[in-house]
């Protein structure tokens, strides 16, 4: 029936559009509301906590670190982050106490009657202060993780040009429309967690450490994630669990927008120094990249984000010598974490701005310089192995350049207008041998009526899992897509298919599901028609064979990775993008409008074209926001204006028509979710450089920055 490749209507569209779908905060609830009392200082020791004697706290549930029966550590990659501060706080907003009460109003009053005294110390508020060891926050050197890698040897050739530039990227807020929300259900001494999340098994693992026993975790319909609900929900689930356990009642915690923006994880800011040597044609002979990212107060996922920075730092260009030195540092700011692109948008902004700077330095066209540096059959990437995607990359580049009319517009731009390009890749799935460490497994179950249920931990958060995975299974079984559904991800009931991150759901989980479906098909024997299928199911069910079929990830034999040498296949495969932006600058108020955006992608087989287009359009919108308007202001370690009125997101009139093309659709399906976040910022910045002839090396490029550059 071939449902893969068809724009099947999303299975959850109707219940979302009529408002009947229940997100966490919409679930029936008769319990207590939870709230978090947080540190008011960025760094120091807690001296005393005082509960105002004139206020009656007797009906307020209060939890502090002493109530934790298991380990007071949110174990992500390491265990440095406590659920609740004990003696010391390391960032503004660090949780110290938890409160619960039936009335939100009384909860607010109680919070106003708690005073925390501190011995404040000078905080470390920037990457520079961290590296200068203003305070020792982590290890000997404040470095959570450092990666150094060298490929090839420095060129002996003389007479090369050289260029050194520094580019910076800021924090970015995920701004999922549904704030973080978690519900802990109490049932006769046992607690069950239901909430907004990307990774139920991550939350289960974190709670197992906290509680000293396994806690059932179920994903509720999730109103967007973008990485913001990858690592953070473990914390809020822990708070809900602790309050629920102590109160013996259901507890719900829903952040308001202010709390969500101020204290949850963001995209890591970065400082990127690019030093290149190239000849008169713009051909790269040497590239040295120095990357520093700000991890915030705790390790969280920074080491993995950093690895992704390194693997994408040089793009896919052919260069005989590439050196990358990278580090993630500690500061006394709220921890940063996962965000769509996961380290790649930062460095791809760097390398793609740098390619344009090389072109400007030589007076050449940016497209010509990129063309001259396209990889070939022998080119190796930053991790020392051949770039397998070289032919596809050239196809994509040539198609995008030709169809967009890039050269003609570049050579004769209209007044106050410019055109820019970004050519980039995105590793799909986990970095290195990460997928083999996840050891994901999937399960499908045959029901007596012939329908099939997918049982995996991969979640729907807007990207289309509930529709795409059934398409893949239905395709493998030659069934109508309506015969296949997904069970609600619940750690007690589904297989651990790994987290819903890194563009891995369709590529990795989808592939495993197709294998599991293949086993079911073999068990059923031949069937060509719906009637024959029903007969085969009846026959098989009678035979008493197993009704569940599974598959587990096995690393392909040709994937090799040495983490210590940072050598090998950084990823099993890469998605590719060539994005072209045209911008117009208002010479009076310096506002920048993206007037056209062409997004050419190669992600192999597209499972659902309409959903895939939607992913690209949404990612491009986020990327344009990152480029032009999304700006979080931190003052003394505090998010200064944590509101959507200050942190401006693109709205419908702010965005151009985004034209989406998919090329190379015959290969296996690769991840698509992250790719469209990677390219827009450089394409837009390069277009602005073209329009105004000024350097735009720091994001976001607000009207103030444009005015400054035009002075």
């Amino acid at each position: 029936m071939g449902v893969v490749g068809e724009s099947v209507v999303r299975v959850d569209a109707a219940s979302k559009a009529d408002g009947t779908l229940r997100y966490t905060d919409d679930l029936p609830f008769e319990g207590l509301y939870g709230a978090v009392v947080r540190s008011e200082i960025a760094y120091g020791k807690i001296r005393a906590i005082t509960f105002d004697a004139s206020f009656d706290f007797s009906d307020i549930i209060i939890v502090d670190h002493r109530d934790i029966e298991g380990r007071n550590a949110n174990v992500v990659l390491t265990d440095d982050q406590p659920f609740l501060a004990e003696a010391r706080v390391r960032h503004i907003g660090e949780p110290i106490l938890l409160l619960a009460h039936r009335s939100k109003r009384r909860l607010r009053e109680a919070m106003a009657h708690i005073t925390i005294d501190y011995d404040a110390q000078e905080p470390v508020l920037s990457m520079e202060e961290s590296l200068a060891l203003k305070q020792r926050l982590y290890g000997e050197d404040n470095v959570f993780k450092a990666i150094h890698t060298v490929k090839g040897s420095p060129p002996q050739k003389t007479g090369l040009f050289s260029l050194e530039k520094t580019y910076t990227t800021p924090h970015q807020e995920q701004a999922y429309l549904e704030p973080q929300s978690m519900l802990a259900r109490y049932d006769g001494g046992r607690v069950k967690i239901i909430g907004s999340m990307q990774c139920p098994f991550f939350v289960e693992a974190a709670l197992e450490g906290l509680a000293g026993e396994k806690i059932e975790v179920e994903q509720a319909p999730t109103g967007g994630g973008f990485g913001g609900k990858e690592d953070y929900p473990s914390l809020i689930a822990g708070y809900a669990y602790l309050l629920c356990k102590k109160a013996g009642q259901d507890v719900k915690i829903v952040y308001d927008r202010e709390e969500d923006i101020a204290y949850t994880t963001k995209r890591h800011p970065s400082k990127l120094r690019y030093r290149s040597r190239f000849d008169a044609t713009g051909k790269l002979h040497a590239l040295e990249v120095d990357v520093t990212i700000d991890g915030g107060a705790y390790v969280t996922l920074s080491p993995v984000v950093l690895a992704r920075c390194v693997l994408h730092a040089a793009g896919f260009y052919d260069c005989g010598y590439i050196r990358v030195d990278a580090r993630a540092v500690a500061t006394n700011t709220p921890p940063n974490g996962a965000f769509r692109g996961f380290g790649a948008p930062q460095v791809l902004f760097g390398i793609e701005r740098h390619m344009d700077d090389i072109a400007r330095h030589l007076g050449l066209s940016p497209a010509a310089v990129r063309e001259g540096n396209l990889p070939g059959a022998g080119s190796v990437g930053v991790s020392g192995v051949p770039i397998a995607e070289y032919a596809r990359l050239r196809d994509l580049f040539e198609t995008a350049r030709r169809e967009s009319g890039f050269d003609a517009i570049y050579d004769a731009p209209a007044p106050n207008r410019g055109i820019g390009m970004a050519l980039f890749m995105h590793g799909a799935g986990y970095t290195g041998v990460g997928e083999s460490m996840l050891a994901s497994s999937v399960s499908i179950a045959l029901e007596a009526d012939g329908s099939v249920e997918i049982r995996v931990g991969s979640v729907e958060m807007g990207q289309g899992t509930l529709t795409a995975l059934p398409q893949i299974v239905a395709d493998a079984l030659d069934l109508p897509v309506g015969m296949v559904s997904c069970r609600t991800p619940n750690t007690a009931e589904v297989a651990d298919s790994g987290p819903t991150v890194a563009s891995r759901t369709v590529m990795i989980v989808g592939r495993l599901l197709a294998q599991a479906a293949g086993k079911l098909k073999t068990a059923l024997g031949d069937y060509g028609t719906p009637d024959a299928y029903r007969a085969a199911v009846a026959r098989y069910c009678k035979s008493g064979g197993p009704l569940q079929f599974g598959a587990s990830y096995e690393q392909p034999a040709d994937i090799l990775w040495d983490e210590d040498l940072f050598y090998g296949n950084g990823y099993e495969a890469y998605g590719l993008g060539c994005y072209i932006a045209e911008v117009e600058v208002d010479p009076v108020d310096y506002r920048v409008r993206v007037v056209r955006f062409d997004a050419y992608n190669d992600v192999g087989q597209v499972v659902n074209p309409v959903m895939a287009e939607g992913q690209v359009e949404g990612g491009v919108a986020q990327g344009i926001g990152y480029a032009l308007c999304e700006r979080l202001v931190y003052e003394a370690g505090r998010v200064y204006s944590p509101h959507l009125s200050d942190y401006t997101l693109p709205m419908a009139p702010d965005l151009p028509e985004i034209a989406v093309r998919f090329l190379g659709t015959d290969g296996p399906s690769l991840g698509l979710g992250e790719l469209p976040m990677d390219g827009p910022s450089a394409a837009v910045a390069n277009a602005l450089v073209h329009a105004l002839g000024s350097a735009f090396d720091a994001l976001p490029i607000t009207p103030e920055a444009v005015e400054e550059a035009c002075r």
């Binding site: 429309l177 549904e178 109103g223 949404g618 419908a652 965005l655």
Partner: protein, 147 residues
């Protein structure tokens, strides 16, 4: 204080503090299509009609709806059927959290004779935030609603 209003044609009486947000009142009354997105009138996820005007429920306090007629998406299922169908068909729904607000915005726009051009629709959507779609499919869905 005592507040009386109709919500989707049914009379509701609330005994609440005067600073209670209308957003919380209607959600507590079971109208959970009204979502709490930003709390300051920026995102439009809590859109509902008060005496025929589309407003953000997070910006209204309880006394402002005394004796008013409130209509939420729950009360407009028949009227919005074609819009919702178009949203589904054209891929305008992703995470869905903003969708009820967009459906009501589209309904308000089209029922006031809004022009079916992309530019006009984009301008009409200025008060609603969507972080998933990039708006293109929402605009397309509204353009193509069957009348």
């Amino acid at each position: 204080m005592q507040i009386t209003c109709t919500i989707n044609g049914k009379i509701h009486r609330f005994d609440c503090a005067p600073e209670t947000r209308v957003l919380d009142l209607v959600r507590d009354a079971g109208m959970t299509s009204v979502k709490a997105g930003c709390g300051e009138g920026e995102c439009g996820a809590c859109s509902l009609f008060v005496n025929g005007r589309l407003v953000n429920a997070c910006l209204l306090l309880a006394p402002q709806i005394h004796d008013a007629e409130i209509v939420t998406l729950e009360g407009l299922q028949e009227e919005t059927a074609a819009i919702r169908e178009s949203f589904a068909e054209h891929g305008a729904v992703q995470c869905g959290f903003c969708t009820p607000g967009f459906v009501l915005r589209a309904y308000d726009y089209l029922s006031h004779g809004g022009e079916r051009s992309e530019e006009a629709i984009r301008a009409a959507l200025d008060g609603n935030l969507c972080r998933c779609t990039g708006y293109k499919k929402i605009v397309e869905a509204i353009t193509k609603v069957k009348s």
